[in-house]
Amino acid sequence: MTNPASMRPAMGALLQSCRAGAHIRPSSLPSSSLNPSLQHTAAISTTSSLLKRHNYKGARDNSDKNKTRGESAIRQTGTRWKLSVSDDPLPQPVKPEHIPAQVTDPNHGLWDFFFDRKTVAQPPTEDAKHGRGWMVEELRQKSWDDLHRLWWVCVKERNRIATANWERTKSQLGYGKAEATARDVEVRRTMRAIKHVLTERFYTWEDAVKLAETDPEVNLTGNGEAYTPTEYLEEQHLSEEEPVPEEEEGAKKEAGAATLDPAALPESKTQGEAPRL
């Protein structure tokens, strides 16, 4: 690249200074001014009047008003004059190879937002591998704890699907929205069924409490047993008619309890573990 004319010392001035006996270092030559190690132009020891082109009385001011003409950071020209910090070494940026790798926790909870740690979204063939949502009848058998945890499993699955959708559009991964939507629909069906079961259970419980208030077997006051079966009540009624000493009453109570063996009660149906898909 040719030197801009402003960077070269004026040739007339050079000749003048030669005649005047000034010493001009070789570094004042134009080719060296682009050398980054010689960041400034050479000093010319001559008078400013000799540097002027038009030197007669009343001559127009031909000076270059731009003191930073030719300075370019992009082209790394350096400054026109030496600065007080010109000799200070600049800090060098760390090369990418030497930057230490970011340490991440492989067990961090946020990883649960991704199907795949590298690609975030999973291919639609994998997305399509799901069953149907839970039915209300299947969930009616589940306890509160199971339903609560299943709800949050569904929430996390929906978060994963939503993150994958966002990443799929952002990174233009391609098709897969339809399969993701179908998967999301089944998860939402499960969540709807959970809400249905819990609401139904609560309303039925409210009605059952109202009914139990009129039930002689049930004691809702909180003092004593909540449930005393009729067989036991009949025995107590008989014992009230014939005054019986306390030990016999206690024996009869045990007999009454023994007739209702908890082991013989119908077991509540619990669903076996669902095969993991």
Binding site: H130, G131, R132, G133, W134, M135, V136, E137, E138, R140, D145, D146, H148, R149, L150, W152, V153, C154, V155, E157, E186, V187, T190, M191, E200, Y203, T204, W205, D207, A208, K210, L211, A212, D215, E217, V218, A226, Y227, P229, L260, P262, L265, P266, S268, E273, A274, P275, R276, L277
Partner: protein, 102 residues
């Protein structure tokens, strides 16, 4: 900016008010409920008892997934009467047989 010609004139008056309508004094909520109360100086005080917090239970060792295998047949509940699952007598009887006695 103007609304479309369809909404200009008297048509807009027949539509339901939104939160953006009317100058001042008209407040329309959006169904999210309140989390505190306003102070007489114009501020707002949060009542933390009203603030919702969602608790996620520990999910370690939980085996259920959001899906059921497609091979599992869909079995609808069978009930003795029209009330079906909402029958309080059934609920009470089941409670007595399963849960009432220790």
């Amino acid at each position: 900016m103007q609304p479309t010609r369809v909404l200009q004139g008297l048509r807009y008056r027949k539509l339901r008010l939104t939160t953006k309508d009317v100058n001042k004094g008209f407040y329309k909520g959006s169904g999210t409920g309140t989390v505190g109360r306003h102070t007489k100086h114009g501020g707002f005080v949060i009542e933390w008892e009203k603030v919702r917090s969602y608790v996620c239970p520990p999910l370690e060792g939980f085996k259920l997934t959001p899906f059921v295998a497609a091979t599992v047949p869909k079995v609808y509940g069978q009930f003795s009467d029209a009330q079906g699952p909402r029958n309080p007598e059934t609920y009470l009887a089941r409670w007595k047989s399963e849960n009432a006695l220790d």
